[in-house]
Amino acid sequence: MTQATVTTGPAARAVGAKKYYGEGDTEVRALDDVDVEFERGKFTAIMGPSGSGKSTLMHCQAGLDTLTGGQVFIGDTDLSALSERDLTLLRRDSVGFVFQAFNLVPTLSALENITLPMDLAGVTPDQEWLDEVITTVGLADRTNHRPNELSGGQQQRVAVSRALASRPEIIFADEPTGNLDSTTGTEILAFMKQAVDNLGQTIVMVTHDPLAAAYADRVIFLADGKVVDELLDPDVEQVLDQMKKLR
């Protein structure tokens, strides 16, 4: 079994992260002084009411967006110090993404979508690892199909495979199961959990679904741009309770 590169310290962290939109009366504090660490080789879920800043945290943490104040790190790299180009390269090489929908480039086949970040980097994918990922995801017979020939669940699995294929430091997933029925969603979640447990991948997932959160090793709760609570090895009941408190 191949392991993700292991170094010490958290895979990603935010220190005093602030993200404000607008000014004066209309100012919105999407992130208000957030300190959080994402442990290496762990599956972390982020939960919170709508508008609490989950997506914002994820975008900033992943280098898609910039902070108003504070710092975010991937490994030991301070993202606020990076240029736009370096951020892109960091995303390409060290971060994986799974979005709620529209994850795939429609012109490319499933396999080409999976290897896209490596193609962009001009590196040859590790064939063994690739085969392993694809087999684990159960897509071996679908690799030459185009996205529109795949079901929604299959498309999400391709997206997860893409995130895994380049063995990034960390994978971010924003409501990856939001568009799927519960059975398919469960499959994807089980798969991600497997990737964490068996392949040593680090995953951070935003979700609204307590069932989904229960797959995680740890749940972080956000409200009004602040981290308000967290649960370790949560079960569905605990998560539901916590959510009710936040409403």
Partner: protein
């Protein structure tokens, strides 16, 4: 409600709206510009006609049976005296004029070559109301004096009272004194239009222009109050037959008509190009609307879901098209007026046409602007709008809703009937052999055929248009009709083939772009890019130098014009920088597509090392062979280096980047869009390639003739060949005959309207030369001849002319010349090659008796055996140096010169087509911009997973190049077919050898690929600058 939607759509996306408008606006601008330009030109010219011929009452000249002013026979000198006796005549002004062959050399012996012809005529001393306005000095009043037109005087190195050389039909005259300057036709000199006008005292003009034989015409001014009709009657009685009396008004009308004809030809040519531009714009508009509707399927589906009827959806779309049309009409017309006026101004700077620039705005101009702006837009938008009617409300809910193309329902009886009708139409059209029937009927038949076959069978219907075009092309190539009919049939076939290829090209787009998007594109981009980079680089240096020069100018001599010039000098710099950057981008793209920097650098390094090794080894080997054993070390080392280099070769990396692949995939993804984006460019390049194939075949024909039938060594031709009457004095040939180095010297004259053949009454073109000696110079493939018949009254005729009239050697017939005399000629030879002489050649002796111009149009020379080329040139130039307006060429030089002229015409033609091509590129730019817009989310996604903005930029650039090359390949292929067919159709007397210039055509493809990059730059920038987060969260 619907209108509100339309308004919102336009106002909400102004950039998109402007983009949509730009192509039609450009089309309208050019058409309106052409009208403004030609109307203005016509206005100034018609005023000019009044100025030139408006101040005489009557004119007397010889009556001609056919032909025009160029070869009207002259009037005897005595007629002028007779006219002076007629009561009521106040003044008699005989006129002598030579249009083209009177050249004045200035103080630098410079022949004053300008854009206008070199005209010589007499000073009109006797006219009470003059058309020559003296400016400086005095009028010429004795032999060896002349007056010169004021502007030409200023332009050249002249001095009043100086002595200059004048070349005229009568010979070369040295030491002619410049006694005065004048303006022609109007006081201010606006009318000269670049012509070089020299005027002489009447009797001397008579001598040097018409060799003393007579006047060209005589104008009269009548006493006040006399009845012109009565005077005319008296004149007729006095002068006898063969002469005619016309009114000043008639002269003026003739002049105006000539101008009109000239402008008409000009306008027609320009309008043909305008028409091409419009077709191209229509394609672009059609494409843009299809894309816009494709992008809004979900929105339109939503409209349908909440209750909008199909009709309302159509109204919304057509309404938007209407707004686009109105905008294009208004803006395009305004720009067009400016464009036409500027064009006129610009050409005036080159002395094209008379001075004066009235802005003539006729209602027709505005009507055309409106028709083109609104109708073309609506017509192009209707098909996509109609398809939108079928968008289902479900489209709003689906992710990847696509607009499906409706296939017409099969209807066998209707289909068969319409198809048959279309075939009957074609047969009918072709059988009339009239171009004005063939074109409309042929096009209607083409549409009917497609309509019919699509209802017979879906698959057959798809290829119906294409097949019909092929059939028409075949008919044009094989049928035996007159040239005009065949060429018009070819035109119909071309349009049909465009439509046919266009309807199947979506099917081609994927495989073709898949193939082209690899090494072929890399090679094209590499070559085109390197050339563009070099040109751009040189241009940048040049424009920097220009800025430097104008800066120096401003510093040394400060004035407003200088400052303006300094800032204006930055425009070429900007343009050449843009060119340079396009070139660099293209080279960059080429490397990324196929080559990669590492590959080239390492490859080159390895190649150089290997080559050094090989050279060392060879030197060693050579030394070894001469027995120098010490060199064995060199051989060993060299061989080893070579071997290592050979082995290293395999490590040269090969890379095909994913963005190149994605670009290819993108181009193949919506094949219909790629195809229609490319279609406009296809048309433009097809026309350019057609012209290139025809021009190149023309050159090949010329070379072939020179090779197979021409045996002369030297060729003397006039420098100015645009004018059919231009040539040089016959004295030149006489001078050459006197040289010891020349063996035989042959003169040629030619007229399009030489004489009538009396047996059928037709006016014929004819050449004339000394028949007895001509075979030593040129053999028009004589198949039968009787040399004893050669002489003054001999004629050589083409085989076809002989067969048509059942002539054989010894047959006689009579021909009537324009001077009223007829001659009986005897067929002395029959030939088969009409490419040099046309169909008839008579003897120069006979000719000279009826044409008094004394101008040879061409002279060929054979030299005595053993005379070297340079020796012969020196000898010939001792004679020709007296004539500034002739070229002396060896065979090779002559061929080069002719090819150069054909190339020039080709360049003018291609420059005119450039506008269409620019609009086509604009179409590609719009298409790409819209598709970037449409793919925002997808582009955001690939940026999120790690595509750098540089890679994104390149991806869109590649896509532009692929689309352009796709259109280019189709266009060049079609153009080659059209050009070849045209060569077959054009009579052998013009073009008989087909030559397809592969290199030029490949160059066009390379240029197209680079142009595709240029077109894609703006959309690519937009794509590269997309905000990743906004892009992925959109939708």
């Amino acid at each position: 409600m619907i209108w509100k939607l339309i308004r919102r759509n336009v106002a909400g996306k102004p950039f998109r709206f402007l983009l949509t408008c730009s192509a039609v606006t450009a089309g309208v601008m050019f058409v309106v510009g052409i009208f403004v330009f030609t109307d203005g030109l016509r206005e100034t010219f018609s005023e000019l006609a009044g100025d030139i011929e408006g101040n005489v009452d009557l004119a007397v000249r010889t009556e001609v049976d056919f032909g025009g002013d160029f070869d009207r026979p002259i009037i005897e000198v005595e007629v002028a005296d007779t006219l002076r006796e007629v009561p009521g005549v106040l003044a008699v002004q005989p006129r002598v004029i030579e249009l083209g062959n009177v050249t004045v050399l200035d103080g630098d012996d410079d022949p004053q070559q300008g854009s206008g012809p070199n005209i010589g005529f007499n000073w009109e001393a006797d006219t009470p109301n003059p058309r020559l306005f003296l400016q400086l000095g005095r009028a010429p009043s004795a032999p060896n004096e002349f007056a010169f037109e004021q502007k030409s005087f200023e332009d050249g190195n002249f001095e009043l009272g100086g002595f200059y050389t004048i070349e005229a039909p009568g010979g070369v005259y040295d030491d002619v004194e410049l006694v005065g300057t004048f303006n022609f036709a109007s006081e201010d000199g606006a009318a000269a239009a670049g012509a070089k006008l020299a005027s002489f005292e009447l009797d001397w003009a008579l001598e040097i222009i018409n060799q003393g034989t007579g006047y060209n015409d005589i104008t009269l001014v009548l006493e006040d109050g006399v009845d012109p009709l009565e005077v005319t009657r008296d004149i007729r009685a006095a002068i006898g037959p063969g002469l005619e009396v016309v009114t000043g008004q008639a002269l003026q009308d003739e002049q105006a008509e000539q101008f009109d004809e000239f402008i008409g030809v000009f306008q027609t040519i320009l309008l043909v190009f305008a028409f091409i531009i419009l077709i191209v714009s229509a394609f672009v508009i059609f494409n843009v609307f299809s894309i816009l509707i494709g992008q809004r399927i979900r929105e339109l589906g939503l409209l349908r879901a909440i209750g909008a009827t199909g009709r309302q959806v159509i109204t919304a779309l057509i309404g938007e098209a209407f707004l686009v049309g109105v905008f294009a009409m208004v803006v395009g017309t305004a720009l067009g007026i400016g464009f036409g006026w500027t064009l006129r101004w610009l050409l005036q700077q080159f002395d094209f046409g008379p001075q004066g620039n009235e802005l003539v705005l006729k209602p027709a101009t505005f009507i055309w602007g409106a028709v083109i702006g609104i109708l073309v837009t609506l017509a192009s938008a209707i098909a996509p709008a109609l398809r939108a009617r079928h968008i289902s409300p479900m489209a709003a809910l689906r992710e990847d809703a696509r607009l499906s193309r409706r296939v017409p329902a099969l209807n066998l009886p209707l289909g068969i009937v319409v198809t048959l009708v279309s075939w009957v139409l074609v047969v009918l059209a072709v059988s009339t052999a009239e171009w004005d029937v063939i074109i409309p009927l042929g096009l209607i038949a083409a549409f009917a055929n497609t309509f019919g076959l699509r209802r017979v069978n879906t698959v057959v219907g798809q290829y119906a248009t294409l097949a019909f075009g092929v059939v028409l092309l075949a008919v044009a190539v094989f049928a035996d009709l007159d040239v005009v009919a065949l060429l018009s049939l070819l035109g119909v076939a071309a349009i049909t083939l465009f439509l046919g290829v266009n309807s199947i090209s979506p099917a081609l787009a994927r495989p073709v772009s898949n193939f082209l998007g690899r090494w072929p594109l890399a090679i094209l981009l590499g070559i085109g890019g390197v050339i563009t980079t070099i040109i751009g680089g040189v241009a940048v240096l040049g424009s920097i130098a220009l800025i430097g020069l104008s800066l120096v100018d401003v510093i040394t001599d400060f004035d407003l014009a200088g400052v303006f010039g300094f800032f204006a000098a930055f425009i070429p710099l900007a343009a050449s920088l843009a060119l340079l950057s396009v070139g660099i981008r293209a080279v960059d793209a080429a490397f990324i597509m196929g080559w990669s920097w590492q590959k080239v650098v390492t490859g080159l390094a390895i190649f150089i090392v290997g080559a050094i090794g090989a050279v060392m080894a060879l030197v060693g080997l050579a030394a070894l062979l001469t027995g120098d054993w010490g060199q064995v070390v060199l051989l060993a080392i060299g061989g080893a280096i070579f071997a290592v280099a050979w082995w290293l070769r395999r490590f040269v990396p090969s890379a095909m980047k994913s963005n190149a692949r994605m670009a290819r995939e993108n181009a193949g993804r919506s094949p219909r869009r790629t195809a229609s984006a490319a279609a406009a460019l296809m048309i433009g390049l097809a026309l350019v390639s057609t012209a290139t194939v025809v021009a190149s075949s023309f050159k090949a024909t010329f070379a072939d003739i020179l090779e197979s039938s021409v045996t002369s060594d030297w060729f003397i031709s006039p420098t100015n060949q645009q004018n059919p009457t231009s040539g040089f004095s016959t004295e030149l040939a006489d001078g050459l005959r006197g040289l010891p180095e020349t063996d035989s010297v042959l003169s040629y004259q030619f007229s399009l309207e030489a004489y009538r053949t009396e047996f059928d009454g037709l006016v014929r073109d004819s050449s004339a030369t000394s028949l007895g000696a001509s075979l030593e110079h040129i053999d028009p493939d004589v198949i039968e001849s009787d040399e004893s018949l050669n002489g003054r009254n001999a004629i050589w005729v083409h085989e076809d002319f002989a067969n048509d009239n059942s002539f054989e050697i010894g047959s006689q017939f009579s021909i009537l010349f324009n001077d009223g005399f007829s001659e009986v000629v005897t067929v002395a030879a029959i030939f088969t090659d009409s490419s040099i002489y046309g169909n008839r050649i008579v003897d120069l002796e006979l000719w000279a008796d009826h044409f008094t111009t004394g101008i040879d149009q061409f002279v060929s020379v054979t030299v005595v055996d053993g005379v070297e080329v340079e020796q012969a040139r020196t000898a010939i130039e001792t004679v020709t140096d007296a004539y500034s307006q002739v070229n002396v060429d060896t065979r090779d030089e002559f061929q080069d010169r002719q090819e150069g002229q054909i190339d020039q015409i080709l360049i003018v033609f291609n420059v005119l087509l450039l506008v269409a091509i620019v609009i086509a590129l604009l179409g590609i730019a719009i298409t790409l911009a819209l598709s970037v817009f449409e793919r925002t989310r997808e582009l955001g996604l690939v940026r999120a997973v790690g595509m750098t903005s540089q890679q994104m930029l390149r991806m869109v650039l590649f896509e532009g190049a692929i689309i352009a090359v796709f259109g280019g390949v189709l266009g060049v292929a079609l153009g080659t077919v059209f050009g070849s067919a045209a060569v077959v159709v054009i009579p052998d007397s013009f073009i008989r050898v087909l030559d397809v210039p592969v290199v030029s055509l490949l160059q066009y493809l390379a240029i197209a690929s680079v142009a595709g990059i240029a077109a894609a730059i703006i959309p690519a920038r937009r794509a590269a600058r997309l905000n990743v987060l906004d892009a992925i969260s959109q939708g």
